[in-house]
Symmetry: C2
Subunit: 180 residues, 2 copies
């Protein structure tokens, strides 16, 4: 059974918002802090929720590479984070599976690019497209040490320059710090 | 945005329950009628809901075959129906995409088998695995004319005999009639 993952934006929460920008499409109302947990905090200004789920594109060979460097969340050194909610276009979702896979990996190297950064950038993919009324398809979550933030910037730049990102029609970036 | 599809089981609803059996795993509480719509009916004994979603395994070539015989719901002649909620095992969901695809189609011919029956058996696949708290992964829905019920029985028998079905750990079958 998938686990619920809930992001509550508001005045309270373990993560302080350092920067919040609409990369593509509408912004989210600005908040001071974000809490990540299994349920919403009661005084949240907004709540985004989804579930961890099964792999959608990853092959057995790629999974072996990913499993060799497990994404560990909550490392004490990883005091910086990012929450990046994303929605892809109706055209993307209307494509058959093999065409989406070809764009995501053979053309865009999404899995390979992410794998190269795994030891520095931990991440979690939260799915919400199949929840009735969801505003985003995915809530992507990242944690890294302050010294590795330039590596995270590179990772984002590589993915955003890829053919896959032409199908992204809504993207909000929220940079976070739990050090203070 | 995916459309919500809601099945309400209870005393009212357009579809009369002809037979309700637990094929694998726990039964659902027996009901007299089922209503299918965009939201729950107020006096329902139980409600199962999910969303229509994107294709998960179908290739472009297979999609062309499926699109040539669109699944039309609500045909006046299709007075028989079936609601079959299904849950697959944690082992299935832990497999990488290429291994699930190989079991589903190269080994089990799921898409090919379904395509062969499309002109007689209309169907709709409702996804609920990614909804927090869902009891089933899928709510599969079928409509056909009374004379074609033996064809539907064949379709079910073929799928249930396939390697894919070894991963089905919960399956309830509800046969329906809206003729009376």
């Amino acid at each position: 059974v998938p686990d619920a993952v809930v992001f509550s934006g508001g005045a309270s929460g373990a993560w302080k918002v350092v920067r919040q920008v609409a990369v593509t499409g509408a912004p989210l109302p600005p908040v001071a802090r974000i809490e990540k947990g299994g349920k919403a905090v009661t005084d949240a200004a907004w709540v985004l929720m989804g579930v961890t789920s099964n792999l959608r594109y990853t092959t057995a060979a790629e999974k072996r590479i990913l499993d060799a460097t497990p994404s560990v969340l909550g490392r004490p050194s990883a005091t910086r984070g990012a929450l990046i909610p994303i929605t892809k276009s109706a055209r993307w979702w209307g494509l058959p599976q093999d065409e989406r896979r070809a764009i995501l990996e053979e053309q865009s190297r999404h899995i390979a690019i992410g794998s190269a950064y795994l030891s520095k950038v931990s991440r979690q993919l939260v799915h919400c497209r199949d929840q009735a009324g969801a505003r985003f398809d995915f809530l992507t979550w990242f944690e890294f040490a302050p010294a590795d933030e330039p590596r995270f910037d590179e990772l984002l730049a590589e993915l955003r320059a890829s053919p896959e990102w032409r199908f992204v029609e809504h993207e909000v970036e929220i940079r976070l710090d739990r050090g203070t």
